[in-house]
């Protein structure tokens, strides 16, 4: 990846301009197709449990990473811009952890106090 990508007839690059060989995009495009097919096959073959979740999340993370770094050119941007985009969403991970914990608590409360199981019916 160097300045030699600038093809004949193009104007001189201005700062922040992103030009890369078309082959890079075609390869990433193909990879995204393969990864999406992979996620679909996970569902098609009814994979369950840990294997399903890990494959779904791995395919998701790979696709997201390829789109952000190559198609959106973030991999070629300066570190300042990378930090601007990548650091704030870490706060979302904190939110996810809190909300998962809260969701489990709500679920337990409902199971323990609001669900009428036939064998536990209250007979005064």
């Amino acid at each position: 990846m160097s300045t030699k990508h600038h093809q004949a007839g193009s104007h001189p690059p201005s700062p922040g301009e992103q030009q890369h060989p078309i082959g890079v995009y075609l390869k990433i495009w193909l990879l995204l197709f393969l990864l999406s097919t992979g996620s679909y096959l996970v569902d098609f073959f009814h994979l369950q449990g840990g294997l399903r979740w890990s494959l779904v999340l791995i395919f998701m993370a790979l696709k997201a990473g390829l789109i952000i770094s190559i198609f959106m050119h973030l991999g070629w941007e300066r570190l300042s811009l990378k930090c601007l985009v990548i650091l704030p969403p870490i706060a979302i991970l904190v939110l996810i952890v809190f909300m998962a914990s809260e969701g489990r608590y709500t679920s337990d409360s409902r199971d323990n106090h609001f669900t009428a199981y036939p064998q536990q019916e209250y007979h005064p």
């Binding site: 990846m1 160097s2 300045t3 990508h5 093809q7 007839g9 193009s10 201005s14 700062p15 922040g16 301009e17 992103q18 078309i22 995009y25 990433i28 495009w29 995204l32 197709f33 999406s36 996620s39 679909y40 996970v42 569902d43 098609f44 399903r52 779904v56 999340l57 998701m60 696709k63 997201a64 789109i67 952000i68 770094s69 198609f71 959106m72 050119h73 973030l74 991999g75 070629w76 941007e77 300066r78 570190l79 300042s80 811009l81 930090c83 601007l84 985009v85 704030p88 969403p89 979302i92 939110l95 998962a100 969701g103 489990r104 709500t106 679920s107 409902r110 199971d111 609001f114 669900t115």
Partner: protein
């Protein structure tokens, strides 16, 4: 990131030095055109909106005591007598990825100064986006006719409908606005409005479009495959 060295030669110093230099020097911090920076900041705020929607969905799905409808079956279709699980969503995913590819081509041709190809690929991207919205309208119609509502549905947990309409609706709105945005910029490129100022605008439009595809990657994995 290990993708390679920066492709413009203005910053040969290591990344950490560039970070310190950008923030400490008496100059603008971000060495990119302002339009591109503003688009990134907008997309960052949009990231938070979609994250909050998806986190809310996770929370209600975890806490409901009813069974969650199985997306694989809810979104299955009969095509030529064959029962295919989740097929429409898979086709929508491929259409959106294809549109991301054509968008990347448009950006590339823009920087080469090839106006005709840029316009063609941008319009192709807009068409694929419109096809995606069309399929989503079909999906909504099918679910509504099956009795799915934001407050309840015959398949199970009521929260399924509210999460589905909210998340895919907000994403579909983004795609629809993206189609308009692409069409407007493509027409302006064709008119020659950017001959002097350069084709940065195509890359900025592309950032928005790739983001819409990016959000779909998360919706596909977390809503449809979970």
């Amino acid at each position: 990131m290990a993708i390679g060295k920066p492709s413009h030669s203005s910053n040969p110093q290591p990344a950490m030095h560039s970070l310190v230099a950008d923030w400490s020097a008496d100059k603008q911090t971000f060495d990119v055109p302002w339009g591109k920076l503003m688009m990134w900041i907008f997309l960052l705020s949009d990231t938070f909106i979609f994250s909050i929607f998806l986190t809310g969905y996770m929370n209600v799905r975890m806490s409901t005591t009813d069974t969650w409808p199985n997306p694989s079956e809810v979104f299955a279709l009969e095509i030529a007598g064959t029962h295919l699980p989740l097929i429409l969503i898979a086709i929508m995913t491929f259409v959106l990825i294809t549109s991301s590819g054509t968008m990347a081509m448009a950006v590339n041709f823009g920087y080469q100064g090839n106006k005709k190809r840029t316009v063609q690929f941008m319009l192709a991207t807009a068409l694929l986006g419109a096809a995606f919205v069309g399929m989503q309208a079909f999906e909504w119609t099918k679910l509504i006719s099956e009795g799915v509502r934001p407050w309840g549905n015959p398949m199970g947990a009521a929260q399924f409908g509210s999460s589905f309409f909210m998340i895919t609706g907000f994403h579909g709105l983004h795609v629809s606005i993206g189609v308009l945005y692409l069409a407007i910029v493509a027409i302006k490129v064709a008119r020659g409005d950017y001959e002097r100022s350069g084709y940065q605008i195509v890359e900025i439009t592309g950032l928005y479009w790739h983001f819409v595809d990016l959000v779909w990657v998360f919706i596909f994995a977390l809503f449809y495959l979970w």
